[in-house]
């Protein structure tokens, strides 16, 4: 009787052990998939680095817009000057 129970316990233990090992292994697998994909600056390197081109294009746009705004401000100053002169006359 005791012997049989002992045998049963052993099976249970084995079952529990196997479940735990499967769990541990599957956890390991889940953890591993992102580990393999670690690469920094992700967005810039995905899709054939197309976002580098996007960044370059936005820098160029920003540069031109910045310069054009400065031209605009110069023009506004000139307009003000003309208006002031008209008032003075």
């Amino acid at each position: 009787m005791i012997n049989f129970n002992h045998f049963k316990n052993k099976i249970m233990l084995k079952k529990i052990f196997s479940i735990i090992t499967t769990l541990v292994f599957s956890m390991n697998l889940m953890a591993q998939s992102p580990v393999n994909e670690v690469e920094m600056a992700d967005a810039m390197r995905t899709n054939g680095k197309i976002y580098v081109v996007v960044a370059v294009l936005s820098v160029v746009m920003a540069g031109f817009i910045f310069y054009l705004i400065s031209v605009d401000r110069k023009l506004s100053r000139l307009e003000k000057e003309i208006n002031n002169e008209k008032e003075n006359k």
Partner: protein, 198 residues
């Protein structure tokens, strides 16, 4: 528009139409600037001085954009924002020389003097630009990551296929015209300013 499929570069080969074309356009515009500087020295009319300065301004804008875009491109293909590439350092020095041109102009108040000195400096700056960007990086024994420099093959044979050429050449013309248009806006503003002050 399909582009050549190349390792490391991937889609960034499309930067040709921005980074490289901007430098080409800058070179055209700065050439116009130095031609007008010479014209001013031959015949000191304020008009030529305006042409020279404003085209130089536009050229500096394109050059600075070229440096920044090149830096971004370098980060994701060569692995760093700034490498000790002779062409990069040459471009940085050339840009500093041209920025000094603007500072020199700002420091002189007399119009005649400013026009003459800055025109002479413009010629000097342009003659520095040539070796810094086009000759020094191409010398034998110089290591440059830029294609066509330091023994590297140029883009032309390997990577520039006819599809990218269809965009690249119009892009050069487009950036040049955009720069010249902005320069012309500023020239017109200056002309009006002068008329008011008279």
């Amino acid at each position: 528009m399909p582009v050549p499929r190349l390792p490391i570069l991937h889609e960034t080969i499309r930067n040709m139409n921005y980074h490289v074309a901007l430098w080409f356009a800058m070179f055209v515009i700065l050439t116009i600037s130095v031609v007008n500087a010479v014209r001013y020295l031959i015949k000191p009319v304020a008009k030529f001085d305006h042409y020279s300065v404003e085209t130089a301004n536009a050229g500096i804008l394109l050059g600075l954009l070229g440096v920044i875009t090149g830096s971004i491109w370098a980060k994701f293909t060569w692995g760093d924002w700034w490498t000790n590439d002779p062409k990069l350092n040459g471009a940085a020095v050339a840009m500093l020389i041209y920025l000094a041109y603007l500072i020199l102009r700002g420091s002189l108040s007399d119009e005649q003097q400013r026009g003459k000195i800055s025109a002479i400096y413009n010629i000097f700056a342009f003659s520095m630009l040539l070796p810094l960007l086009y000759i020094l990086p191409r010398l034998k024994g110089v290591d440059s990551l830029h294609p066509g420099n330091g023994g590297n093959p140029a883009f032309s044979s390997l990577d520039l296929d006819n599809n990218i050429r269809k965009v690249f050449y119009p892009a050069i013309i487009g950036w040049t015209l955009l720069g010249l248009w902005i320069a012309s806006l500023k020239i017109r503003i200056k002309t009006i300013e002068e008329k008011i002050n008279d």
